[in-house]
Amino acid sequence: MEQHVPVLVIITPLIAAPLCVLIRHRRLVFAFSLLVCWATFVMTALLLARVLETGVIRYELGGWLPPWGIEYRVDALSAFVMLFVAGIGAVVATYAPHSITREIPSKRHYLFFTQYLLCLAGLLGITITGDLFNLFVFLEISSLSSYALISLGKSRRSLTAAFQYLVMGTIGATFVLIGIGLMYMMTGTLNMADMAERLTGTVAINGQLLVVNETRTALVAFAFLSVGISIKMALFPLHLWLPNAYTFAPSVVTAFLAATATKVSVYILLRFVFTVFGSDLSFTKLPLDLPLMVLSLFGILIASATAIFQSNIKRMLAFSSVAQIGYIVLGISFVSVTGLTGGIVHLFNHALIKGGLFLAMGCLALRLGSVELEALRGMGQRMPLTMFAWLLGGLGLIGVPLTAGFVSKWYFISAALENGWWPVAVLVLVSSLLALVYVWRVVEVAYFQPPLERQSEIREAPIAMLIPTYALIGASILFGIWTPLSAGVASHAAEILFEGMP
């Protein structure tokens, strides 16, 4: 069975989703989903171990050789992304029951888990596939399920947030579809590896012999793919759907999507830029690095500054997420192994930190029924464990030494200095100060203000929620100290990306 692991990772949650509909019973569905999520996580761990040992793993679906059939292709980057997506999926699923009991009507719980598993399968499917159109299909699976999940929020604004995301997401997906179509038109293939090869070759168009990646069609395709994916990953200024979606979705959904969905979109960008088009075309012939750097710096500064002025903490963290996407893209725009390593390791670190923070927010929402800054007064005493987890996560966002955030920032600043771009390094430091301000606002209210009268009955969150929260926060501290799995794998993946097709 071992050679089937690549496909089993995807079809396990994919088949489990319809089974949840058949099971229906709330507790059974939960137990079953939990089992499936953890099994998926174990399989991704196996995949990563095998990839690091033997290199790229391929799997031909339906037994048809690529480029005729669809192939799965696992390299260090995809295995790494899958590992943390599945890991966070499993941890958040473990955390879910208490939180959704409070936030979602019990009649819909089995449907919630169905959509959750579909979303997980979609995200993993995007990451593992070596075929462009298959990527589009799984992108839509994950998108549709996330619209549904977001709309489950308690406030009516979750509906408009979901709709707004649906419209933006569909525009993004349609742009991607146009891009894929134009690429297909010029190369005749949908397989990424095959396309990468044919892009550097020549093609006879209308009697003229042209190099494919120099044609105007290929350039336009590249532009459409980049814009489409930028919408999906909420790159500033295309991030407008994100704050509402994260603020009004149920806590569990926010934690899961914030930690995984945008990260997988960044993965798609990396795949296109480095694997399909090649770093040579993307950065040497086309100055993609410049716009990416400008947008990411603006994104980091503006989103961090906006976060400071939010009174709703989920919204504050959402703006912080937009800023973190900026950091990741900044890492890519350095066009160096160090910068890219920083970007990839920050995908991982930020997933842990933000996942943990949003889980802590879920604990607060469970007990307080609100995520307003005002409601948090005195929670440092009333809910010490939850607030301490939040504090550790906050330190990670700032990038204090011994947290995972520090590791990423270290790479960004080294990469900036390597390139001799010291103003960029300074801006990264300035933005950390902005993060300090918004984290401090919460810490101040929670630890240095007396609790409100009406909240004297508030107790600590249940242990079943605290354990998963601390699992993610603890991991973010662990990977601040011990980096072979995070930075080690990331730099390996970055080197492979710069070499081109593995």
């Binding site: 549709l144 549904a148 604004r157 408009t160 979901a162 709709f163 649906l166 569909t170 349609t174 949908l190």
Partner: protein, 125 residues
């Protein structure tokens, strides 16, 4: 430039795509936005299908005899764009269904499906 007429179809299709895109981003009525998305997507489907066309070809359905003789004398239109678009159509209708379900719920919660009125109501509360 004698071959420019060969691009005429693509230009019209692009114009159709952009009309749909324009409806999505300029109109505040939520149903109008869904209509725009539909037109945008259908036009992209037309782009794909028109690239699969081969002059003088026929639909890629082979007469049963051709299997025995093994000869492919006929020119067939490319089947792959058709396959991709069959999938994309299904994805499109799935998105439309989700969007409309959301609109029904939004109308129940807000009493309107105009974007600006919804925004105003969100500001008030």
């Amino acid at each position: 430039m004698s071959s420019l007429p060969g691009l005429f179809n693509y230009w019209i299709v692009i114009m159709l795509m952009m009309t749909g895109f324009y409806i999505v981003i300029s109109r505040g009525n939520l149903i109008k936005k869904v209509i725009g998305l539909n037109i945008f997507q259908i036009s992209v489907f037309l782009l794909y299908i028109s690239m699969g066309k081969v002059a003088g070809g026929t639909a890629p359905i082979k007469p049963a005899k051709s299997f025995e003789s093994g000869s492919a004398l006929q020119t067939f239109t490319n089947p792959l764009p058709s396959v991709l678009i069959l999938t994309a159509i299904v994805v499109g209708v799935a998105t439309t269904a989700m969007a409309l379900a959301l609109i029904v719920r939004i109308h129940e919660a807000y009493g309107t499906i105009e974007e600006d009125e919804i925004l105003d109501m969100d500001q008030e509360t």
